[in-house]
Every structure is written in structure tokens, then in C-alpha cells.
């Protein structure tokens, strides 16, 4: 069996984009990173035109590093865990791949997500420990608290949630759902919470929590099932409390 993939390509950040279609023999259990590998090995379009291999970002190949996020059949997700047979069942004629739209394109399917990492600096997404010398174990943590922290801690900065978020775009400085969820992760940590006010300050400012329109798109596309809208709701309440505390100077 053969199938077609249509890929939106762009040679450099300054060039326009264009579509190219490739035809592939099906392999059992094939995923889209394999498709891209096969194209790299034999970059010939469906019209038998030689072309350059499609540039793409990938590393772990098991949906844990977050590198290979792209828009596949109109839905943002990871290419490595997108299986060809399921995609063809979704949309039989062809599979479509394009880069995410919320980030500058570097080349083909590679985009520049450094803005997401920059935001993590702004919200101090870390536990400020005294130092890396031996100070014994950390705080005891009840299993329930671990159960709540662990899912948030699985965020791989993949970009799906911000790609789907209507409020995250060129015209707004919204920090996005992933960063808000990280704020809640670190504010809940017994040591991490010393920086809570600094984080609320960011959430209170422009591009902070108020920018979220509560459309709930983010939570539907997160590959790690992170309860983003719960984090956002909680962040909203906590930020309000913070502002009240600040106004009343306590």
C-alpha cells in the first residue's frame, strides 16, 4: 500500500512557504518521524522531482522530549507518536504536516520556541535552594501532593497548548498556559513557594493570567494530559488573593 503526505515547506525564515507532496510505501507500525526519515533518505516528490530533505526537529522518538511538535491533519501534536494507520483512518486521502503557526519558522517543520523557555525565566520556574552541597533530604511530601505535582511536572515545553490558544499570538504578550501551570507547580512546592510572590507579580501584569479567555483549547491538545485549565483557575484565584494582600499591605 502507498499513501501520500503533503508538507508545508519553507527554505529559510525569510522565504515564502510552499506545499510539496510525497508518496510513501506503508510500513507496519509506521509513524511520521519514520516518514520524515524515509524522505530524508530519498527526497523525491510525487511528481518525481528531486528536492531537499524536509527539515524537522526530533530526538526521543517516544513523545517525551517535546521536540517534534507540528500541525498534523490540522491538529497540533507530536510527529513521533502520530501513527500513519490512525491518521489515514482519520483522513484517508492524505496526511498533511505543517509547522506550528505561533512561532517563527526556521526551516520547513522546525520552529523557534525559545520564547517559551524565556518565559520560564520570567516566572522563576525553579526551586531556589540554598546550594548544591549536602543538606540532607528535602521536605517530606504526602503522596497526595506528589500526585498533584507529578502531572504538572511532565510538561515538555512542546508548544501544543500555546499553538491551540487563541490568546497566544503576535499581538499579545500572553505568557501562555504552560507557563501558568509551571507557576502553580513551583508555588505548591515547599521550597519553591518562597518565590511565589514574584511569580504572582508576573501573573498580575500584562500578558498574565487576565489574558486567558478561558476557551479551554489548551487542555484538549496537551499530549501529557496536564490539567491546564485547573492550573489556570487556581492561578486566577491565587493571583487575586495576592493582589488583595498587596493592596492591603499585609
Amino acid at each position: 500500500m502507498k499513501f501520500k503526505v503533503k508538507i508545508l515547506r519553507q527554505d529559510t525564515p525569510h522565504d515564502g512557504s510552499y506545499w510539496q507532496t510525497f508518496e510513501m510505501p506503508y510500513e507496519d507500525g509506521m509513524n511520521l518521524t519514520t516518514v520524515l526519515q524515509r524522505i530524508a533518505a530519498d527526497p523525491i516528490t510525487v511528481d518525481r522531482q528531486p528536492t531537499a530533505p524536509v527539515a524537522y526537529d526530533a530526538s526521543c522518538l517516544e513523545e517525551v522530549c517535546g521536540a517534534c511538535t507540528m500541525v498534523i491533519n490540522g491538529r497540533v501534536r507530536q510527529a513521533c507518536s502520530a501513527l500513519v494507520d490512525r491518521l489515514l483512518a482519520e483522513q484517508p486521502s492524505l496526511i498533511e504536516m505543517r509547522p506550528m503557526t505561533k512561532f517563527p519558522v526556521i526551516r520547513d517543520l522546525i520552529v523557534d520556541r525559545s520564547s517559551m523557555f524565556e518565559v520560564l525565566k520570567r516566572v522563576k520556574a525553579w526551586v531556589h535552594v540554598d546550594g548544591y552541597h549536602d543538606l540532607g533530604p528535602g521536605a517530606r511530601i504526602p503522596p497526595k501532593q506528589q500526585d498533584e505535582a507529578y502531572p504538572l511536572s511532565r510538561c515538555m515545553t512542546c508548544g501544543c497548548c500555546v499553538e491551540a490558544c487563541p490568546q497566544f499570538n503576535d499581538r499579545s504578550s500572553f505568557i501562555g498556559p504552560a507557563a501558568i501551570s509551571q507557576v502553580m507547580l513551583f508555588n505548591a512546592h515547599p521550597t519553591g513557594r518562597v518565590d511565589a510572590d514574584a511569580r504572582f507579580e508576573v501573573l498580575s501584569g500584562s500578558g498574565g493570567i487576565a489574558a486567558c479567555g478561558n476557551s479551554q483549547n489548551c487542555v484538549k491538545v496537551c499530549p501529557k494530559d496536564i490539567p491546564l485549565t485547573d492550573s489556570i483557575a487556581k492561578a486566577g484565584r491565587d493571583t487575586t488573593l495576592y493582589q488583595l494582600r498587596k493592596w492591603f499591605g499585609s
Binding site: G29, D134, R140
Partner: protein, 663 residues
């Protein structure tokens, strides 16, 4: 004094650990990585990280026993002082990770929970669900970001290390690296360079490792004069699921939580596995290894799968090495702790492993070998002199290696959950070494080197790139890679023999020749991934030669290196006296084998291929003894061996202080 810089190449667990330690001490670090560090391969680690802990301690465990399991599991091929120091640091490493916010699983009282891993009887493994590596990598990534925000760390992500810069005396003065987007090549001057570039699974085509684990960086350091050690020791993990682009691991933690391995007793029984009654299932690890059961060391589990599938023809899928890994009987609570990996199985195989036994296969997983590094032994403790300028340094002064890229900690076979420990440990301890180096700079400062040294260092890389881009050849680098991987997987993994190793060497020579004739399909000067891959292919071919020739030369069985031609026949007599006699013969053969082969393989690059020599292994703490997991007559062998008194000078434990290494 001129501003000093350290270059760290690689932002997996090892690279991040040294970076945060150096930054904490006020040093400026250039952190260079091919991928954003948060996407490094360490993110894949699933099962957990080992150390002695309060619970196991009360069951009689100690740092010493952790070391004993590690060197016994590794078939005594590792120098013992670094292993001792690592095991001593274990509890402190986990405590640090705990403080940094790693969400380790908890007991009802809020303590860290532990599971049991292979090659030990103790529950030493701390874990965060089944995504421990991800959680640990994120914690360190966050710390490094904290220092980045304070401008002590400057990240160069999507930059590729091309080679070290060596002065005329052969001292390392920095690195040459390339921006993988703009393709700019530039030098980074540095007073110390640390490589933390991970393993080389791609030499075998597909493996459980990430796409970027080509060994390219190690290959470049090797070519520049750093020795490569124990390359032939490659771990094949018993349990993975094959995919078209990757072999995805099903962590040992599945067995640590109670998962069982079996095959139907009837060859190619095609019934639904759930309908096969227990009496018709062959739980071969449990039957053959009553003590360790499903948690024998990996090299042994893998060979047993090979035996059951090939020699007994009981593979679940004919013509392959496929057995069942069964977690269907586990409690909901245990299954929850495995969610991370069960999701992977479900996602990629489309079958719920909670309900149906998983079909699993062995896969190349870990490089025990790597760049040769030095250490300084502390005679008072038996461990290391912390801060010694020698620790983790290669043969090239000023060039250090840590993490999976070094060869130091796992000997002939790595125990599960010991790698995360060795990565972070080596990263933490190389920091004081570098801090001391920066204070004294025995070979002078990089800032005092002529500018031409750095300018000139770029030229050969630029020329190579221009030549390759314009070269009109007929070979396709991806297809060559596949050919290399197929040969390596077929002949240089679970079972090896000299005839096939020789033909593989010839094949590698042929591939190397054809590599001279590769052509790129991408001629562009912007984000050329084709170029980067093709460069790494050259390194993989070189490493394949080191691995294969090392395996050919080593005529024995040790850990993951198994050559049936040179196996010592197991005793098989039923009658006690005869068995005892056979055990005596066995022990003599074992002694002779140790005298000849208990040595580190060291490969040095020459233009005509690797040159090999062998170095003594420091076994001063725990005298080597036969590894008798599941061997018939094991007890008799152990008795006879202890009577032979080889290398025994009373209980070794008393010779040095246990635990509490100096800070």
C-alpha cells in the same frame, strides 16, 4: 586576570549537573548542545536511580554492598575507587535531587518510595512514576535556567560540537562548534572543556536511544587524541518494543513492580496469551534463576531470551527474539507507578498492556565503553581524591568527559538505575576538579594563546563542509547508515563469534571506503541536517571499527561480551565428587581467563585505524570472583574459589573506611 570560561558540551543529566555546580561557584559556562537541553536523551530514562537508603540500610544494605553489586554485575571490569566514591555519594545525590523538586514517588508517610531493580536483592531505586529521567532532567534544567538568568551560563542550543581545539603541545584550549541553523562555524576558547555527550546507540542503527545518540562527539574527541576504552561492551536491554524508527524501551521497572517474563511451552502457540494456563507457560527466568528471578542482570536476561527463542525455538513470533512481559496480574497501585511506560506501549502498539501481555524484544540500549578518563585514588578511603585535577580527564589535558560518554563506572555490564547515578555523580565531582584547574591553570590560560590558534581551528571544518556539500558522489548516507546498523546488530550484539566479527570488520572497511563517496541531497547553507547526519556517520563508522575490533580481540566471555567459542563449560556432573572436580577445573580456567583478560581495552586513533593496548584494572577493594548467577554448581564453585584464595587478603571491607567520603 583574563576572564575564564568553561565549555560544557551536552546538556543531559551529566552536563547540566556540572554546569549548575560550576555556575554556583561563580564560573562562566558556555553550554553547547545539539538540542535544547530540556530535550536531551536523559529525558527518556524511565525506571529510576539507585542508592542505599534508610530502608535498605536497616535490611543490612550499605554503600559497600551497592558497590559490590555494581562491580559483580559489571564482571569486575571497572576500576573500583570511582565506583566506591559513586556509591558513597548515592544517598547525597538523591537528597539533592529531592531538594531540587524531583517529584519522587512517596510512601503514605511522605518518605521517598523505592523499587527493586536488576542485579540486587535490595529496593534501592528511587523513582518518579515511570519517567524518572524526565523529572530529573527537568529539575537540573530549571537550576541551569536560574543561572542563565543571572548570566553565568550562556546556552548555545542547536549548536554542534565539531572538535576540540588543541595547541601545539596537545593541550585542549577550547572547541569548534557549528550553529545548526545558520551553519556558522566558530571557535570557543576555554580553560576547561567537558564533554557530556551521551552514548552511541545509533552505531547499531536503531536502538532504545534518541536520534541524536550517534557518538559523534566522542568520535571527534577520539580522532583528536583522546583514547576510547571498553568500546566492545554494549548493553542489549532484554525488553523493548520494535518500531520503524526506534526500539522503545519497556523499563526494568515493569519487572521491579512484579512483571513476569514467559513464553508458551508449546512452540509458536498462537492462542491468545491470556487463555494459556499457567502450567503451559515457561517462566524461564524464574525457573532458571530462583534467587533473582525476573531481575537478573540485563546481559543474562538477554542471553536467556536468545537461548529460549533460538535454541529452544519458543519465540512468540517465529524468526525473532520475542517473549511476553506480563504485568496483567499487578495491582492497580503498581500499574499506576508504571503509567509512563504503559502509555508508550499502548500508544505505539495499540494494545492495552494492563489487559494483554506485552510482546517484547531485546534492543541495544547503553554504551558501557566510552572515552577513557583518569581518576586519583584516595588511599585513606579507597575512593577518589575529590578535586584532583586528574578526575574525569582524558588523555588530552584540559579535556574532561562525564556521563554515558565516559567508560568509567559500569565495567562489562551496567546495572539498571545506576546510570542516572553515574551521570549526575560524574557531573558533580568534575566541578571541583575544574574549579581547582582554573585556579592554577597548569598549562597557562586560553586567553594567552595566539589568536591564530582559534582562527585556524575553524578552517579544516569549513573546508570539509564545503567539500562535502559540493561533492558529487553516488552513496546515500542514510542507506549506508542502515547497512552499518544491520551488520552491527546482527554480529556485534548478544552473541559474538570471531568469524562474523572478522567479516563485520571487512564490511566496516568497505563502508568506510564508500563513505568517501557520499553525496548530500541538501546543498543548502541553512539548517542543513543532511550535513550534520553525514558528519556523524563518519564518526559512527569509526566507532563501529573500535567496537568490533575490540570484540574480536577479546577472546573471553565477560558481562555483555559473550563469545560461546570461549565460554568455560559449566559443570554438569550429578555426583558430588565429580561436580567438585569439575568446579576445580572451572575455577582454574576462570583464574586463567582473569589473568589474561581482566583488563581495560584502550583504543588509540591512528590514521591506519585503532591501535589497542590493555590496562590493569584496580580491583583492590573487592577481589574479583566468578559471577555464578544461575550457574549449575554455583555453590561448589564459590567454595572452591574461596579456597583457592585468589587475591584474598581477608575481608576487604575492613581495609578502608566505609561510607562517609570526604566532601
Amino acid at each position: 586576570m583574563a576572564k575564564q570560561h568553561v565549555v560544557v558540551v551536552g546538556g543531559g543529566l551529566a552536563g547540566l549537573a556540572v554546569t549548575m555546580k560550576l555556575a554556583e561557584a561563580g564560573n562562566h559556562v558556555f553550554l553547547i548542545s545539539m538540542v535544547p537541553v530540556k530535550r536531551s536523551h536523559s529525558v527518556c530514562a524511565q525506571g529510576g536511580i539507585n542508592s542505599v537508603n534508610p530502608l535498605t540500610r536497616q535490611q543490612g544494605d550499605s554503600e559497600w554492598l551497592h558497590m559490590d553489586d555494581t562491580v559483580y554485575g559489571g564482571d569486575f571490569l571497572q576500576h573500583q575507587p570511582p565506583v566506591k566514591e559513586m556509591c558513597d555519594w548515592g544517598p547525597r545525590v538523591i537528597d539533592l535531587l529531592d531538594r531540587l523538586g524531583v517529584p519522587f514517588n512517596r510512601t503514605p508517610e511522605g518518605f521517598r518510595d523505592q523499587r527493586r531493580f536488576g542485579g540486587t536483592m535490595f529496593k534501592r531505586t528511587a523513582f518518579a512514576g515511570a519517567t524518572t529521567g524526565q523529572q530529573m532532567l527537568y529539575a537540573l534544567d530549571e537550576q541551569v535556567r536560574r543561572w542563565e538568568a543571572r548570566n553565568l551560563v550562556e546556552k548555545y542550543e542547536y549548536w554542534e560540537f565539531l572538535g576540540p581545539i588543541l595547541d601545539t603541545k596537545g593541550h585542549c584550549r577550547g572547541v569548534v562548534a557549528q550553529d545548526m541553523f545558520s551553519m556558522e562555524i566558530r571557535p570557543f576558547a576555554a580553560d576547561a572543556v567537558v564533554l557530556a555527550t551521551g552514548g552511541c546507540g545509533s552505531v547499531f542503527g536503531r536502538s532504545t536511544m534518541s536520534m541524536i545518540c550517534t557518538g559523534g562527539a566522542a568520535g571527534r574527541a577520539y580522532e583528536a587524541g583522546a583514547d576510547y576504552a571498553n568500546g566492545e561492551f554494549v548493553q542489549v536491554h532484554p525488553t523493548a518494543i520494535p518500531g520503524t524508527d526506534k526500539l522503545r524501551l519497556m523499563s526494568e521497572s515493569a519487572r521491579g513492580e512484579g512483571g513476569r517474563i514467559w513464553v508458551p511451552r508449546k512452540p509458536q502457540d498462537d492462542r491468545d496469551p491470556n487463555s494459556i494456563p499457567a502450567s503451559e507457560r515457561f517462566y524461564f527466568l524464574e525457573e532458571r534463576y530462583p534467587k533473582y528471578g525476573n531481575l537478573v542482570p540485563r546481559d543474562i536476561a538477554t542471553r536467556e531470551i536468545f537461548d529460549v527463542c533460538v535454541n529452544l525455538d519458543l519465540s512468540v513470533e517465529p524468526g525473532r527474539l520475542c517473549v511476553y512481559l506480563d504485568v496483567t496480574e499487578l495491582s492497580a497501585e503498581s500499574l499506576k507507578k508504571l503509567d509512563g511506560i504503559l502509555e508508550i506501549y499502548e500508544k505505539f502498539q495499540g494494545v492495552d498492556p494492563r489487559k494483554t501481555p506485552m510482546k517484547i524484544f531485546p534492543a541495544v540500549h547503553y554504551s558501557m565503553g566510552g572515552l577513557w578518563v583518569d581518576y586519583e585514588r584516595n588511599d585513606a578511603t579507597g575512593g577518589l581524591v575529590i578535586g584532583s585535577p586528574r578526575n574525569q580527564q582524558t588523555k588530552v589535558p584540559g579535556l574532561f568527559v562525564i556521563g554515558e560518554a565516559d567508560y568509567q563506572y559500569h565495567g562489562a555490564n551496567r546495572l539498571g538505575a545506576n546510570s542516572l547515578l553515574s551521570c549526575i555523580f560524574s557531573g558533580l565531582i568534575v566541578a571541583p576538579t575544574i574549579v581547582n584547574r582554573l585556579k592554577s591553570l597548569p598549562q597557562g590560560s586560553a586567553a594567552d594563546q595566539p589568536v591564530s590558534l582559534f582562527d585556524d581551528s575553524v578552517k579544516p571544518h569549513q573546508e570539509w563542509m564545503n567539500r562535502l556539500i559540493h561533492h558529487e558522489g553516488t552513496e546515500n548516507p542514510y542507506k549506508l547508515h542502515q547497512e552499518l546498523g544491520d551488520w552491527m546488530t546482527r554480529n556485534v550484539t548478544v552473541v559474538r563469534n570471531n568469524k562474523d566479527l572478522r567479516s563485520t570488520l571487512e564490511k566496516i572497511a568497505e563502508i568506510s571506503e564508500r563513505y568517501g563517496n557520499v553525496a548530500l541531497s541538501d546543498k543548502s547553507n541553512w539548517t542543513n541536517q543532511n550535513l550534520s547526519f553525514t558528519r556523524a556517520l563518519g564518526d559512527m563508522i569509526r566507532l563501529a571499527g573500535v567496537i568490533t575490533e575490540g570484540a574480536l580481540l577479546r577472546d573471553e566471555c565477560r558481562g555483555a561480551h559473550f563469545k560461546p567459542e570461549f565460554a568455560i563449560p559449566s559443570p554438569d556432573a550429578e555426583e558430588p565428587a565429580a561436580l567438585r572436580e569439575q568446579a576445580g577445573v572451572w575455577c582454574k580456567a576462570f583464574k586463567a581467563k582473569g589473568d589474561r583478560w581482566l583488563k581495560t581495552t584502550v583504543a588509540r586513533h591512528t590514521p591506519d585505524g585503532p591501535e589497542f593496548h590493555y590496562e590493569e584494572v584496580d580491583t583492590s577493594l573487592i577481589p574479583p570472583r566468578p559471577r555464578t548467577y544461575g550457574l549449575k554448581g554455583a555453590e561448589v564453585i564459590e567454595q572452591v574459589w574461596s579456597k583457592m584464595g585468589v587475591g584474598q587478603e581477608g575481608p576487604a571491607e575492613r581495609k578502608v573506611a566505609v561510607g562517609g567520603a570526604p566532601k
